[in-house]
Amino acid sequence: MNKHDPVDVLIIGAGASGAAVAWSLAETKMHILCLDQGGWMNPSDYPSTGRDWEAKFYGDWSTSPNIRGRPEDYPINDDNSPIKVVNFNGVGGSTVMYTAHWPRLHPSDFKVKTLDGVADDWPIDYDALTPFFEENDRIMGVSGLSGDPMSPLTHPPMPPQPLGLSGPLIGKAMNKLGWHWWPSDTTVATMDYEGRARCINLGHCTPACAQGAKASTDITYWPHALRAGVELKTHCRVREILTNEDGMASGVVYYDKDGVEQFQPAEVVIIACNGVGTPRLLLNSVSGRFPNGLANSSGLVGKNLMFHPYAQIYGFVQEPTDSNRAPPTCLWSKEFYDTDLSRGFVRGYGIQFVRGAGPVFEAVASEQKGILPWGAEHHRVFRKLNGHRLGVSAICEDLPEEHNRVTLDPVLKDSHGIPAPRIDYTISENSRKMMEHGLARGREILEAAGATDICTNSPIPWGGWHLLGTARMGTDPSRSVVNEWGRSHDVKNLFIVDGSVFVTSGGVNPTSTIQAIALYVADQMKQRLANLFD
């Protein structure tokens, strides 16, 4: 095994949180190295550059690593979960392949035990993250409208996305019902911003943005971090973290782009591999001192996995919608975000509205739902459906449960022979009731908009975008994996900055909060450099 010169800080993963922490720590002038199992993306390869852009979503650009199967991906055994894991592996991580919807967790999300008597409070609060939310919004480049009466105050540097055709249909329906709605904060640039060109409405934002209008960390944080001296090595897959006789992390073993085993020593190791990749790595880092995996004296590594179960409902209106000719998400609602026990469940959900779909997606989805027939009627019905879809998704807060977990699969391995993660997950009764409530309200919204042919996906099966909770933060080492500033309770030079550290999930997309936490942890590290390991 080749051994390299030691670095001061080694970051594993170049995605949402890894990029943010790398950029923030760069000002220390320490020798910082980031390893990522994927490579740099080439926007000229992105689906929207080709006529077959929709077909690619079912194959090479699927959100599921199991379907996509790029060399950079690792398999995931999620057979025992109704919600399948979706992610992207490469520089930028899953920010390359996300919808760019950009809500923050609410202040109340950090105090669910105190407020609602469930789960646990976070050891930090919203106010601690506020400056990092703001800093992150500036660097990622956020569009939106300040002043939402039901969301935390934000200051998006760019105006919101246009309402288009679909937005007014939703807005009128919500006004008719007297329910809250607001233009979403998104990381889609609505004007030229920091070297990024403005959105030109290529359609599906999820499978990467050829225009570069959607913020992904390969085009936001990384150029800054690299200019500041951070080193990034691609196609390097970390197998395990090693420890020394003092119980400190000594470095990592990884496979380089040629598959050759390497050892990279480091003074500090930061894990940024998401809520599945991080516990996988920790559980695979077994030694005599850490027989149950690294940083796992609590036994909680991999446990408390939270997705956001999505209750999706959609229908078809007579008016044309934006279809695939706009970013898919444009509006949100927080009408049912907070606990109201009269609804039969605790906590709540955010709603994100979806503008429509392209012709292939529409045909495939509608045929599967049985509303697009085979035969002579096919053409008439398709013309009624295509370009007329309006969608509503309730993004339900998932509460932590230890039986929902990530473990190492005893059989399945990746291309380097590293055990694949196995997911065991069930949707709780509370979440089910929340999803039913979301579907019922979604139906009311769609009916108020005049929609017919209403269909549901609950949960969205390939909806495991948000991977949270599997190395939770807390002040009690017996009930958490990292402390209130991201450092492992067990290994004093090991930090975690991704969604694994979430204590609860909130009812919103988490990437904004994940990155704010990464910046907060980096800031804590910088403030404590003199006694970081005490």
Binding site: T49, R51, E54, Y58, S108, A326, V360, G375
Partner: protein, 149 residues
């Protein structure tokens, strides 16, 4: 049965037949059916990773039909198609998706739908700003953010 990575001649015949059942040609809309030679050629040329599942679906279809699909009368074909959709699982769904994804990128079909024959990038699309006055009732609401202790 067939090798997992290729379609046999019988497969291709049945694929053409079932594609025409899914999307027949239409005089009214001036569109070809999914059995059109160009669309079929697109399917075969781009099957790629879907080949094994499509072959599996076509094997299933052949077992149900007991003979080439094209040789069955219309009523019998309908029965077989319904059974195929009900029992074909992921393989049948993949076959249908392959048919539809190739059909709905054919130039004649897109033209009939009034869609432009181009990739989204680099031209993109224009989005109306919309009527922001619709937001006035929401702006008038009092702030309702739940307080955290």
């Amino acid at each position: 049965m067939s090798a997992a990575n290729e379609l046999t001649s019988a497969h291709r015949d049945d694929l053409r037949s079932v594609a025409a059942m899914i999307v027949p040609a239409s005089e009214e809309y001036k569109v070809p059916g999914a059995d059109d030679p160009a669309i079929q050629a697109d399917m075969l040329a781009t099957l790629g990773r879907d080949t094994a599942l499509v072959a599996q679906a076509l094997d299933h279809l052949a077992r149900l039909a007991g003979q080439p699909l094209a040789e069955l009368d219309t009523a019998k074909r309908e029965v077989i198609a319904n059974e195929f959709r009900a029992t074909g699982g992921a393989a049948a769904a993949t076959l249908v998706r392959v048919v539809l994804q190739c059909y709905y990128r054919d130039e004649r079909v897109l033209r009939s739908l009034g869609l432009e024959l181009r990739a989204p990038f680099p031209k993109g699309y224009t989005l109306n700003e919309g009527d922001w006055a619709l937001l006035d009732p929401v702006r008038a609401r009092p702030a309702q953010l739940r307080r955290a202790p």
